[in-house]
C-alpha cells in the first residue's frame, strides 16, 4: 500500500472522533456502528469477486452481517446509529439481491470490470440469430396446450438457462468479457422465456 492510500484508508469515527479503518463496520475503540461506505457488493459480503459463487456461502455471509447490522439491533440507540444501521442493512440487501441472481450478478460483474451491458433496452434484440430462436420458442410456448408439451418446453428452457450460466462462467474465467457480455444478454432472454414457460405451465395445470 502506498503512503497516500494508507492515509486515505483511515477515516475519523463519527462518534469518538478517533481513527477508524475506512471499511470498518464498527469502531474498535468506542464500538459505534460506521456508515456503509462505497465498497463493491462482493467485498461488502466478504466474498471474492467472480461469477462463480457458492449460494450457500452468500446466504451465510448475508445473514451473518445482517445479524450485526440490522436496525433491529439498534432500537435503543441514538438516532444517528439507527440511521447508519439502516444504511448498512440497505446496502447489504442491495448486495445480496444483486449477487444471488445470476443475471444481475453477471451484469454487475461486467460493469465492475468496466464493460457494462444494457439490460434495460427491452424488446430490441440486435442479434438476428438470437431473435429468431427466441421468437420460435416463444411461439411454441404460447401454442402449447397439453401439460406434457409445456412441461417438456419448460424443462428445456430451464436447461438452457443453466447451460448459458455455465458459458458465462467459462467466459469470465477465460477473461473474455465480450463473450460474457453477449451471453449475459442471451441469459436475460432465456430467463424471461423460462419464466413464461413456468407461468404457462401453471395456467395449464390449473385449467385441468
Amino acid at each position: 500500500m502506498n503512503a497516500s492510500a494508507a492515509a486515505a484508508s483511515v477515516v475519523s469515527c463519527w462518534s469518538c472522533k478517533g481513527p477508524v479503518a475506512g471499511r470498518a463496520l464498527f469502531c474498535s475503540v468506542c464500538g459505534a456502528v460506521q456508515g456503509p461506505g462505497a465498497v463493491d457488493h462482493f467485498t461488502r459480503l466478504g466474498l471474492a469477486p467472480g461469477f462463480d459463487i457458492d449460494l450457500g456461502q452468500l446466504e451465510r455471509q448475508y445473514f451473518g452481517f445482517q445479524r450485526r447490522l440490522h436496525p433491529d439491533r439498534f432500537a435503543g440507540k441514538s438516532p444517528r446509529e439507527k440511521a447508519l444501521s439502516q444504511q448498512q442493512a440497505t446496502a447489504l440487501n442491495e448486495a445480496y439481491e444483486t449477487l444471488k441472481d445470476p443475471l444481475k450478478r453477471a451484469a454487475y460483474l461486467l460493469a465492475h470490470r468496466g464493460r457494462p451491458v444494457d439490460l434495460t433496452a427491452c424488446g430490441t434484440i440486435n442479434d438476428p440469430e438470437l431473435l429468431m430462436e427466441q421468437m420460435e420458442k416463444r411461439e411454441a410456448i404460447a401454442e402449447a396446450e397439453s401439460l406434457d408439451d409445456i412441461t417438456r418446453l419448460s424443462a428445456e428452457a430451464d436447461a438452457e438457462v443453466l447451460a448459458c450460466q455455465c458459458h458465462i462462467s467459462a467466459a469470465f474465467n477465460a477473461g473474455d468479457l465480450d463473450a460474457a457480455g453477449h451471453l449475459t444478454l442471451r441469459l436475460k432472454y432465456l430467463a424471461k422465456l423460462a419464466e413464461d414457460a413456468r407461468s404457462r405451465k401453471a395456467r395449464i395445470a390449473r385449467a385441468r
Binding site: K17, G18, A24, C30, G31, G76, R206
Partner: protein
C-alpha cells in the same frame, strides 16, 4: 477508571433500566391482544376473567365516556349509533375507498370529508379511524399495565403484511396518540412465524395463511436457525371474516324481508343481523346446522342455516384467498411441494371450509396446534423483547406492494418492486418534458397496476427550482427509501444542480403534522410533559453515547494527553454526567457541546497517530472491526 466493555453493537439499550415495559400488541379488526415476553417466555395479558382478547369495539357515550371491549360490544344492539367496530378496515383510507366498501360498514361516514382521511360520526362526535384505534390501544395498554402492575410505554404493533403506507402510518400515529412509543411495526404473518418457528424449532420453507376479521395475508418464509426470511407476501387489506358475516347477514335480511315484507333496513336491524351472522358462522364451526332469531322493534324472524349453505356463502371469499396464495407461490418462484408446512393464523381460519381449501391447495393439512387468535401478539411480544433486551433472531421482511411514481399519460413507473427485502433504497431518473420547465410534480403511488388511477395514491409533492433547460436535459433523481417498519420516504434531486427535496410521505389519506399535534395535545392529559420527557430521553441517549465514546477513546489513546488536558476532558465528562442526573434537557445538550469542544484537540491527536501508524504499515484492521473475511461475532 473502570470501563464496562460490550461487544460492538451489543451495548445494552440505555433506557432499559428506566421508563416502562415493552409489550407486543396485535391490533386486530375484531379483537386485539397484548402480550409480554420476559426471558423468551411469553405471557398473553388477560383480564380478571382470564380473557386474552379485547374486542376492538369502542362505545362513545353522550357524556364523553369511552368504553372499549366486551362491554362496548354488548352495547352494539342497544346503542348502535354510539358503537364503532371493525375500524381497522378504515385505517389510512379515504372517502372514495369507503364508498367502494359501501354498505359493508356498520357506521355512518361523515359526508363533508372530501379528500384526506375519512371521518366517522359517532354519538354526535366526528372521529378519525386513527383516534378510534388510539382509544382501543389505550384500553389495551391499560389492561397490560393492570396485569403487570407497571407502566407500559413501548410496543411492537403488528399490521397486516399487505397494509399500504397510508395504513401503516395511521397505525403508528394511533399508537403515538395512545402514548406508546412504537419500537417497530411488524407484519402479522411474520410475527406469527416468529412465534411458531421459535416454539417448534421449525426449519425450511413455511407458508403463513392469516385470515382475520378484515384482512387477509399470506407470506412465504424461510426459517433457519433464528433467521426468519420472508420470500414473498401477498394479501388483501379488505378481505376477512367480516365479509362472510356480512354475506350471512344479507342472506338473513333477505329472508326477513320475505317474511315481514320489504322495508328500509334500520341501523339496528343491520347491526343485529351482522351480529347474528357472526354467531351463526362461529356456531357452524362446531355444529352442522342451527337456527337463529333476529328481533327488532318486537318483530322477530327465524333463520335456519346449515354448513353447506354457509360454505356456499363463504366460498367466493375463500376462493379469493386461494388465488392470492397461488400468486405468492409463483412470485417466490417455488413449487407448492417445496413448502414444509402451513401455519394458520386469525380467528377466521377456524372455519372448516378454510381448513379444507388450504389443505387442498398446499397438499398437506395445515398446522393448527397454535392459538390462531393469540399467536400474532406472542410474536410481537418476542420481537419487543428482542428490540429492547437484544436477541439473536433476525427478521428479514419485504415490501408487500410495488412503489412508483406517475409519469406522462398516467402510467406508473415502478421504483421499488414488491417483495424486496427491507430496508431498501432505490432510485430512478426522470426528466422534464417541456423546454424551460422549472418545476416537476411528483405523485407517489403504490400498487401493482400499470395505470395511476388503479393504484393507490400515497402523496404528491413538487420539486421546484429546476434550472431552465431544454426538454429532456434535466436529470431528476427520485429516491425511495423504505425503512424496517415498511414506511416510505421519498427524496427528489436535480442532479446537474443539486436542487433537492425530501418528504416523509404523509399520505394523501393521512393526518397532517398539525392535525396530529393537535390530537396529541387534546388526547394526552400530560401531552406537554410527555413530549418533554421523550425529548429528554433522546438527549440522554445521545449524551450517554458521547460520554461512552470519549471514555473508550481515553482508554485507548489517553497517553496522548498532558495532565492538564486530561483533567479538562474529565471535567467535561463529569459535567455531562451531572446534567444527566439533573434531568435537564438544555443542560444535557449544553454539556454534550462542552464535551465536544473539550475533546477536539484530543480527536486531532488521535487521528494524527492513526494516520502515522497506517503510514508506518500498521494494519488498518487494528483500526476497526473491518470486513475481513466474514461476519464475526455471531
Amino acid at each position: 477508571m473502570l470501563l464496562q466493555l460490550h461487544e460492538p453493537g451489543e451495548t445494552p439499550g440505555p433506557h432499559e433500566a428506566e421508563g416502562g415495559l415493552a409489550v407486543g400488541i396485535d391490533l386486530g379488526t375484531t379483537n386485539s391482544v397484548v402480550a409480554i415476553a420476559r426471558g423468551g417466555e411469553v405471557e398473553v395479558l388477560r383480564d380478571g376473567e382470564g380473557r386474552g382478547l379485547v374486542p376492538s369495539v369502542v362505545f362513545y357515550g353522550e357524556d364523553g365516556q369511552v368504553v372499549v371491549g366486551d362491554s362496548a360490544r354488548s352495547q352494539i344492539l342497544e346503542a348502535p349509533d354510539h358503537v364503532v367496530s371493525s375500524v381497522k378496515r378504515l385505517m389510512g383510507r379515504g372517502l372514495e375507498d369507503v364508498k367502494a366498501l359501501a354498505g359493508t360498514l356498520p357506521y355512518q361516514v361523515e359526508p363533508a370529508a372530501e379528500g384526506g382521511m375519512v371521518r366517522l360520526k359517532v354519538a354526535g362526535r366526528v372521529l378519525t379511524p386513527v383516534e378510534i384505534s388510539a382509544d382501543i390501544l389505550r384500553a389495551v395498554k391499560a389492561r397490560a399495565e393492570e396485569a403487570l402492575g407497571k407502566g407500559v410505554d413501548k410496543a411492537v404493533v403488528t399490521v397486516p403484511a399487505y397494509f399500504d403506507d397510508a395504513a401503516r402510518t395511521a397505525t403508528k400515529d394511533a399508537a403515538r396518540l395512545a402514548g406508546l412509543d412504537v419500537l417497530r411495526l411488524v407484519n402479522e404473518p411474520t410475527a406469527a412465524a416468529l412465534a411458531y418457528g421459535l416454539d417448534n424449532a421449525a426449519e425450511g420453507l413455511y407458508a403463513v395463511y392469516d385470515l382475520g376479521g378484515g384482512t387477509f395475508d399470506v407470506s412465504l418464509l424461510r426459517m433457519e436457525k433464528g433467521v426468519f426470511q420472508v420470500k414473498a407476501t401477498g394479501g388483501d387489506a379488505a378481505l376477512g371474516g367480516d365479509d362472510i358475516d356480512h354475506a350471512i347477514a344479507e342472506h338473513f335480511l333477505a329472508e326477513r324481508a320475505g317474511v315481514l315484507g320489504e322495508q328500509p333496513i334500520t341501523a339496528g336491524e343491520a347491526k343485529q343481523a351482522l351480529m347474528v351472522g357472526r354467531i351463526a358462522k362461529e356456531c357452524l364451526t362446531r355444529q352442522p346446522q342451527g337456527e337463529w332469531m333476529i328481533e327488532v322493534d318486537g318483530k322477530p324472524s327465524r333463520h335456519r342455516l346449515d354448513r353447506a349453505a354457509l360454505d356456499a356463502l363463504a366460498e367466493p371469499f375463500i376462493a379469493r384467498t386461494i388465488a392470492i396464495c397461488r400468486g405468492v407461490v409463483e412470485d417466490a418462484g417455488i413449487d407448492v411441494a417445496d413448502i414444509h408446512g402451513v401455519v394458520l393464523v386469525g380467528g377466521s381460519t377456524r372455519m372448516p371450509l378454510v381448513r379444507a381449501r388450504v389443505a387442498e391447495f398446499f397438499g398437506r393439512p395445515p398446522l393448527a396446534d397454535i392459538n390462531p387468535d393469540e399467536v400474532v401478539a406472542v410474536g410481537a411480544a418476542l420481537q419487543a423483547e428482542a428490540l429492547t433486551a437484544g436477541s439473536d433472531t433476525l427478521l428479514l421482511d419485504v415490501t408487500p406492494l410495488s412503489l412508483g411514481i406517475e409519469t406522462m399519460g398516467g402510467i406508473v413507473e415502478k421504483v421499488i418492486p414488491r417483495n424486496q427485502p427491507i430496508p431498501v433504497a432505490m432510485a430512478q431518473e426522470f426528466t422534464t418534458y417541456q423546454d424551460g420547465q422549472t418545476a416537476m410534480a411528483i405523485h407517489v403511488v403504490q400498487g401493482e397496476r400499470e395505470m395511476v388511477d388503479q393504484c393507490r395514491s400515497l402523496a404528491r409533492f413538487v420539486l421546484r427550482g429546476i434550472p431552465p433547460m431544454a426538454a429532456g436535459a434535466a436529470r431528476i433523481r427520485v429516491t425511495f427509501t423504505v425503512d424496517a417498519d415498511g414506511l416510505l420516504t421519498v427524496a427528489a434531486q436535480e442532479t446537474t444542480t443539486g436542487v433537492e427535496q425530501q418528504v416523509a410521505v404523509k399520505p394523501s389519506y393521512g393526518l397532517s403534522e398539525e392535525e396530529m399535534a393537535q390530537m396529541l395535545r387534546d388526547s394526552l392529559e400530560h401531552a406537554r410533559e410527555d413530549m418533554e420527557r421523550r425529548l429528554l430521553t433522546e438527549s440522554v441517549v445521545e449524551a450517554r453515547r458521547a460520554t461512552l465514546a470519549v471514555k473508550s477513546a481515553l482508554a485507548a489513546d489517553g497517553d496522548l494527553l498532558s495532565e492538564g488536558e486530561r483533567q479538562a476532558i474529565d471535567a467535561a465528562i463529569e459535567g455531562v454526567e451531572q446534567a444527566i442526573a439533573a434531568s435537564d434537557r438544555d443542560g444535557v445538550d449544553a454539556a454534550v457541546e462542552g464535551l465536544e469542544a473539550a475533546t477536539k484537540g484530543f480527536a486531532e491527536k488521535r487521528m494524527d497517530r492513526g494516520i502515522r501508524q497506517a503510514l508506518a504499515g500498521v494494519s488498518v484492521e487494528r483500526l476497526g472491526d473491518a470486513l475481513g473475511d466474514g461476519p464475526q461475532g455471531d
